[in-house]
Symmetry: D2
Subunit: 319 residues, 4 copies
């Protein structure tokens, strides 16, 4: 393969730029031409792509977001548009592309692979919800960002002897809440994988209170259905302490990537290009047991995430 | 004066601990006994106070929040409870106290000063809404925290070519939004002092968009009455770009204080104690034109904040 | 086992407090008494230890350094003192201890285990030089701290079009330099595992310069023997650019631990206690292929670290 | 005036980019053409300049360093080269320039002003050593950076119960050490303005030690002549504690500018352009008593800095 493309799609994640850099520079070092496709599949459909050189990715390693921009493409859900995307790549003589993104992007990539394009998936999503890989680019940064927010919240929460509920991202996968909860010392962790009863939450807060804790931190994934206002109301009633909620939202998406995310991005991005160079059929790159691995792209999108019960159990002991 | 007290009251602010440290250590160096009163006026009413030593304030300079805890006291709005507070201080032989807080705390302090207690006000509020002082402890930290949040938001906002509205604290005073807007390069600044029409906001965003900006940042003080959802809806309609809102809330209150806030806290805290030592009647300490000053406490609570029109005008030129 | 001890020894590392917290709380949850031993083996010899409660480790998860303090003990290199240490533990009825530290601490722990004390090693060292574990507590934080320093250096280095040599910690193991070099985009990485000739370094810098880079960053582990002043002199001569050196030193040791280090500390600390509870003979806890594992303590101290050649090779492609 | 230039010169400082942005955008808003001159006076002599547009300074507000690059020019110390510089500006029809820098840059600017060019000085130097202005762009960022470094050092210093000497920048002016010392809680502050005897330093450390401090931090400006190794040796001998030194060097120069530095840069940069627009003769812009002011350029370079004795005295009380 001599000409390849790279795009970022769906929600942005810190480290995507490090992955783009790895794709471009690994590609060039293997003698390939690398095209940057802007705005994900939307830009592909519009023919918005351009060759990238070694220096196109200078000074981007440390930047959050994505220099190629990103989008969610509604058109790309339709078969005729996917055909159009494949034809666009043919027009440019591009045989394979690297798709950096999460679940939806992988599905788009898989559809495109059915049209004769080789597609390599590189996992970029702060939610960490891809089933076939232990970690995704952006997760480590986001969870460290959340720890920083918890640290700020803790100052004011303990000064006022308050309970604070922090709602973090994660619709289907509670990893952000789980890891930030373990490492941030949260009193209660509320995730979609283990739905707590509102009274259980209340009992956990009371237990901490009785054991002398001057304030409580509850971390809740957005995918948890319980109503936050209702929870706060009940907590104020049962614990005789103020309860407040904070929703950091998009703050969790940005920031300079951590070392781990830059490394994971560099290694998975380079691996994706190596596989394209070797004319390997479409695959999803990831990390399992500390090693960079790849699995068949079609298989990857079917795999569901295993819940880290050991981590959850540990939080119950340590909090 | 040989025995003094110190308390923090109202919303906590980064640097309050640096102020407590200055009060304690300056007091001890002048041969006075210094009592820490917990939970603001609430703790005073309950007699929750204790002598502090040089080491009671070791390792607190860099910590957000307040080691003395804080509260808003409803009881202290009633005259008989204020009497009770004064009697409590008499019981301990405390003739003067330092009150670290914002508007409400100053009013409580003033009432107490009418009962024969000397009260020195030290300005601690991230809102920067005290009229007699150019800056309050916590403001510089909060505005730098907001700059960090804007930086995160910018990554994701530009990746998606989106408009993001960030709602920051500030009910009556727009300084947090104004300073963060100037220094964060916001496209639109919405503050209580200059209420913009919804169409004006829209025109400013469109102007930036026409001049080639790939995304827009709007910073809005919580005291601005315009409905955010309505604004976002209109922006999406008129600019053909997604619009999102972020409300960082209590995240703005925490964090390790900046150098400026630690210095302001150290200097105003020390000054308050010096004034007590000199048996000066109740005053409010602050900073004007770069100098530590003090004004009569009763006068201080009547002064209203002057709007920084020059800064606002500069943002119009530079954004 | 009903009574256990915990100490930190050797150079401090961010996350040690998270490990102490896990040991104490896991121990208490299993019904054991946990003693904190101050100043490592020095404190053990002096009988400087005290029972720790659930709340002794409140609010420490996020703090760098070690609340138990640490030291390098010369006495503990002598057999009679090791005997004394074992007797001291017997006096308190402590049958097993958790030693949090690096190579030297593990050797001390092993000697103690030969005197009838069960010793569990928890890896705490920013150098990441323990052979049996992929990562040690503190390494992730230190490498992220170094990335922050590189970011600062890059600002001034590029403004002046300069070459800057950053000397980081790592006497025998170049991991700090290697990982920070990969993820910080260093032009040259100098580590003990792959000693470069001074002319090779020069050629790499010239190559970057020819390809248009306005400045160069060289990251060098302290274990590399080449003289930095000599290198700077040669670089200035051959590249017609200023060359400067920066040695961050102890700055690399501090800081609030990252999520990874807190998690690794929590999991290894808890595991160590579980093994003591189960009366397992002395072992070293660590992480291999993403899993918490343990190996015989005597074996652990004999294992040598494998060099990550794949990462080094990748830096050559991406820089 | 219709055509102006802007350059950065000497050591870089965080916030210089914010100043460049203000100059460019204020200039354009007043209908002027603004030329960016690269590499300070060196670039001027080489004719390395180019017109800047509104978007040339997009996304630079938050970046450390200087996008125009900087240099120290030896040629510009000679009269014939200064003539050459003036002629170069005449060739481009540029009548006035803004020089962003410190002492040496101001002297170069003044010489140039004697050749018929209007020169406005904008203070950019982390050392804060310009006599006519209370603060310079970059100082607030650098002092906050140093506070961060002290925080890291404190973790390891207290864990080992050690004395650590931190040597910060400041050849003639000790402000970085003084402000960081006050706000970082240093036990001893060593600055060129108040040279301490080696025994005095030792006595201060012993005093802290006797009062129960587990470790000591000494902050020393580079302009202080005392030998650090000698000091460390004496301290180890007299205090029975380890003493270590850390020299952060260029780390102090970088980093994203704080809010204050961005604001000061925006206001002084805009003011400089306004003065050029009004055809005011050469002046130096600065801040006095919280207000943006300007003084005659020739006068500015003669003024010497007043020492902040009140701050120094306060550190003696609070440490």
């Amino acid at each position: 393969m001599k000409k390849i493309g790279v795009l970022t799609s769906g929600g942005d994640a810190p480290g995507m730029n490090a992955a783009i850099r790895a794709v471009v520079r690994q590609g060039i070092s293997l003698g390939m031409e690398v095209y940057g496709i802007r705005r994900g599949f939307e830009g592909l459909l519009d023919g918005d792509l351009e060759e990238m050189k070694f220096h196109s990715v200078g000074d981007v390693l440390q930047r959050g977001g994505t220099i190629l921009r990103t989008a969610r493409s509604k058109r790309f859900l339709e078969d005729e548009w996917i055909d159009h995307g494949a034809r666009m790549l043919n027009t440019f003589g591009i045989e394979g592309i690297v798709v950096i993104g999460g679940e939806g992007s992988y599905r788009g990539g898989y559809e495109l692979s059915q049209k004769g394009i080789t597609v390599m998936g590189v996992p970029g999503t702060i939610d960490n919800d891809l089933g076939y890989t232990d970690f995704s680019i952006g997760f480590d940064t986001a969870v460290n960002t959340i720890l920083g927010l918890i640290s700020n919240i803790r100052d004011t929460s303990s000064s006022h002897e308050r309970t604070t509920i922090i709602e973090v991202m994660g619709r289907h996968c509670g990893d952000l809440a789980l890891y930030a909860g373990l490492s941030g010392g949260a009193d209660v962790i509320m995730i979609p994988e283990i739905e707590l009863d509102i009274n259980e939450v209340c009992r956990k807060v009371l237990k901490g209170q009785r054991s002398g804790k001057a304030h409580s931190i509850i971390i809740k994934a957005e995918g948890v259905s319980m109503d936050t206002a209702e929870l706060a109301r009940l907590l104020e009633e049962m614990t005789a302490r103020e309860a407040r909620a904070v929703v950091p939202g998009y703050i969790q998406r940005g920031g300079s990537p951590t070392e781990y995310d830059r490394r994971l991005a560099s290694m998975t991005g380079a691996k994706a290009v190596q596989l394209l160079y070797d004319d390997t059929p479409s695959r999803a790159i990831g990390v399992q047991e500390g090693q960079i691995i790849s699995v068949d792209l079609g298989e990857a999108i079917k795999m569901t995430r295993e819940f880290k019960k050991d981590i959850y159990d540990l939080t119950e002991v340590l909090a």
